[in-house]
């Protein structure tokens, strides 16, 4: 698979350079800035497409590799590559960024130039996180992303943005710096930052344990896992729509990705020992996050807490450590990115009209905005996991994997699906049905730009829902390679899961 240009570097640096070029544009020329940002994100998306079309599904090896010496005296390389686990996050990032530019078109009125620069730099750094195969480089992108994200929340956010921004920054930073020390200790042991070599190394059990928790600090904050989730409702709620979408769709996936890429392959023994803790925390997140959603009065906050619950499913699947669970977890991350991203976009669309996020300010919205109501309905059902839509596939696989790992966990997780149906449908009912609230009477329905923003996500909802194998197919080899190293889950449980799969088929 020969491509004429270093595709991963291009995907990372086209947005960054695009952002720097925007620096030179006169700030009065807002339309040039907007169109420029849109152009950059579209170009980035187009050059990322070969990752999907030219990907070799038959190997677990890293593809599209690029390697250059960077800091030779520390054995640090500029080393990029993707495998079946990471490739979709790159694609998701490039797609979501376009939508973020579109949704901000009229919503951002102040410091327009800075906003799009921050957005583009965030995009580059996010993609860098998913492509890095050098731990130092990974950490660089991981942290560098905080700067524009902090600004996006803090400058263009809602009323309590200052509090939310610093809380987001400090939570993430504290977790990350512990991981930094962990990385250095790892280097001290293996004398390399190369992630592939680090994963082939075997570490003493005690060291694995310490490092597992050091990395846990960084990844669990990002996911966020219970009880480190409290930054998320604030950040999601206060961020501007584009910021919420990035947070929900991509940024919080980095934590789960970190578990898959680092914690599990590098510290298999510690991971196995910690399965009960991780599964327990995941189940708590699923149920607790879902219950909190039931009492929210703010739409954005409700969706934010639903993220806690959904990410609980993701970590559950990952730490079930069988192929259903892990593949379901990865797929569910993508699903959650699509669906929750779409829901935040939807809320942004209505917020632009009414400037209110309170559920009680709405009611009967389906009458003045029928098209909008239709879109919202689809994404609501996808969140709940209606068969035929993407949420169903992911959650089904995860619950199956969870059941194989521990029956009680599988059963408890399944109740989360019921709770999510409860809060989402109730939200839908309160906002779209019942009597038309006079505050929303006479609002205009979605315009072409807004429809265009949501359409790609709508298509993906059904594509993944109807034919998930075109996505799961990318993961099989990488995931089974990962699981070979761990080899967990009793054979008996696996047989049960196999039997269920056959019955379903």
């Amino acid at each position: 698979m020969e491509i004429g240009y270093p595709i991963l570097s291009a995907v990372i640096f086209v947005p960054v350079i695009g952002g720097l070029v925007l620096l030179l544009v006169n700030r009065a020329n807002e339309s040039i800035i907007k169109w420029g940002a849109l152009l950059v994100t579209i170009v980035t998306f187009v050059i990322s497409l070969p990752l999907f079309t030219d990907f070799d599904k038959t190997t677990y090896l890293m593809q599209f590799q690029e390697k250059h010496a960077w800091i030779p005296s520390w054995n640090i390389n500029y080393f990029l590559g993707v495998d079946g686990i990471s490739v979709f996050f790159v694609l998701l990032s490039t797609l979501i960024s376009i939508l973020c530019v579109l949704i901000s078109w009229n919503a951002i009125k102040d410091k327009v130039k800075e906003f799009y620069i921050a957005l583009l730099i965030t995009e580059g750094a996010m993609i860098g996180v998913f492509c890095s195969l050098d731990f130092f480089l990974f950490y660089l992108f991981w942290e560098a992303m905080l700067i524009p994200m902090y600004l996006i929340i803090g400058v263009w956010g809602g009323p309590r943005r200052l509090y939310a921004a610093i809380k987001f920054f400090l939570y993430t930073l504290v977790g990350s710096v512990l991981m930094l020390v962990g990385i250095i200790v790892l280097y001290n042991h293996a004398h390399t930052f190369n992630i592939l070599e680090l994963a082939n190394h075997t570490y003493p059990y005690k060291l694995q344990m310490i490092l597992f928790w050091a990395f846990f600090a960084a990844f669990a904050v990002k996911v966020p896992m219970f009880p480190l989730h409290t930054w998320l409702p604030d950040a999601h709620t206060e961020a501007p729509t584009a910021g919420s979408v990035i947070l929900a769709a991509i940024l919080i996936k980095m934590g789960a990705y970190g578990f898959l890429r680092f914690s599990i392959p590098m510290f298999p023994d510690a991971t196995k020992a910690m399965i009960p803790v991780m599964l327990g925390l995941s189940v708590v997140a699923i149920i607790y996050g879902g219950l909190i959603c039931l009492v929210q009065t703010d739409m954005k906050r409700l969706i934010a807490y639903s993220s806690v619950s959904h990410m609980g499913f993701v970590t559950l699947g990952i730490f079930a450590l069988n192929s259903y669970g892990v593949e379901g977890g990865i797929l569910q991350m993508i699903n959650h990115g699509i669906v929750t991203g779409a829901l935040f976009l939807c809320i942004g669309i209505i917020y632009d009209r009414t400037h209110s996020r309170e559920i009680s300010d709405y009611g009967g919205l389906a009458t003045p905005l029928p098209v909008y109501a239709g879109f919202f309905m689809v994404f609501t059902l996808a969140t709940i996991g209606l068969p035929g839509m993407n949420g169903f596939v992911g959650e089904f696989l995860i619950i199956l994997g969870g059941f194989a790992a521990s029956r009680i966990v599988g059963v408890l997780a399944a109740t989360g699906v019921v709770i999510s149906a409860g809060y989402m449908l109730w939200l839908y009912q309160r906002v779209f049905f019942m009597n038309v609230n006079e505050k929303v009477a006479g609002l205009k329905d979605m315009d072409a730009r807004e429809v265009l923003t949501l359409l790609p996500l709508l298509a993906l909802v059904f594509w993944i829902g109807v034919y998930p194998d075109s996505f799961l197919g990318f993961m099989h080899v990488s995931v089974s390679h990962l699981l070979e190293k761990i080899n967990s889950g009793g054979p008996a449980d696996m047989n049960v899961a196999q039997a269920i799969i056959h019955m379903v088929k």
Binding site: W74, L140, Y150, G154, A165, V174, L180, I184
Partner: protein, 477 residues
Amino acid sequence: MQYPDINPVLPEIILIAAALLVLMLELFIKRKETIGFIALIGVGLSMCSMFYVKGVVGQETFGGMFISDGYSAFFKIIFYLNFYLTVLISLKYLKIERALRGEYFGLLMFATAGMMIMASAGDLIVLYLGLELMALSTYILAGFLRHKKKSNEAAVKYFLLGGFSSAILLYGISMIYGLTGTTDIRHLAGLLAGGGIKSSPVLLLSVALFVVAFGYKVAAAPFHMWAPDVYEGAPTSITAFMSVGPKAAGFAVMGRVFLIGLASVRIEWTTILIPVAILTMAVGNIIAISQTNIKRMLAYSSIAHAGYAILGIIAGTQEGMAATMNYMLIYAFMNIGAFAVVIMLKSEGLEGDNLSDYEGLAKTHPVASALMLVFMFSLTGIPPTGGFMGKFYLLMSIVNAGYAWLAVVAVAFSAISAYFYLRVVMYMYMKESKETPVLSVSPAIGLALIITVAMVIAMGILPARFIDFAGAASAAL
């Protein structure tokens, strides 16, 4: 009679001669910028001579009392940079303060010469000479705004406490001399390695006294009490100068005295330095949170950074020393850069050193705010800035030396520091301004800002060259 080889000490000789010349010219030249220009040329000559000397001739003179090697050269480059950047940010500021006088440049040159002598000292007496030359010049510079109460207060405080620390240093030297009969650092190392003096309590006491004296110079807690008041009261340009130069000089002598002279009692001095480092990071980062004056905040931040830099000395390895040196170089750029922005806010009628003066700056002055943003993130240690690379090197050296727990302490305090650095960003970008401050922009300060911001980013993205440079320089030790 045989004359000592003066080639190694040529840069210092040229610098001091130029400083004397500048003091004399002050009487005849009315346009004070011209004097500043002459000072720049004089220092430039001195710098050229250093590169010439480094390439051509022997490294030591005066019987090993003065050593000109790669190690000292690295620090001297920091001192030259410190001088140049300080002059660039001073010109406009001094005019506004009506304190543009020729002595200012002369004293800066003397102070720089003192630091250079410290970095090259192979003997404790020479070390003391350099230290006093540097200290006396900076005491005067701290009080350079004669009509301001705070500036005078700063000078007196700095002088009194500095006098004590010098006396303590002399006391330590005298005890070392009493024990071993030598003040030559390398000779001392040989004697300590050989004999039974190692267990002497007097030696331990003198080690403690050294820690106190050097700790004072680098503003390490609990010897930091002077720093906030002096930094706040001194002219802002001098605050920038003091927060980098004397600190780097302090680390230069710490490297020679602890890693060479007292190498065989390493366990003793690390036992003292570890709590000092932790306390320094704690005091600097925690008290900075409650500051409302940006100069005071940067004073506490400079204390905190001394705490990080000590980690490299504690590591006690060549790698550790290289990390400390690398950190001082990065720190010079990011800290003077931050002060350059602070100094721009000083204009006729506005002191510009309160945090609230930064409200909404991003709206009125987007470029200055963006620069300050870079410096603040670099001081926090967020990639891709130089500050991150510097901290990473330090952490790596301390982990490799077996103190992983100390690295955890350091990153914890570093995370705390994000709060107050980001508060500046928050004021600039996320608050609305009440009035529009006028920035005192000049080509000189613009040049200083371009240099500093370019270096902060270059050292963050392409650090390999700088790391190798520091590594090679520390190998000369």
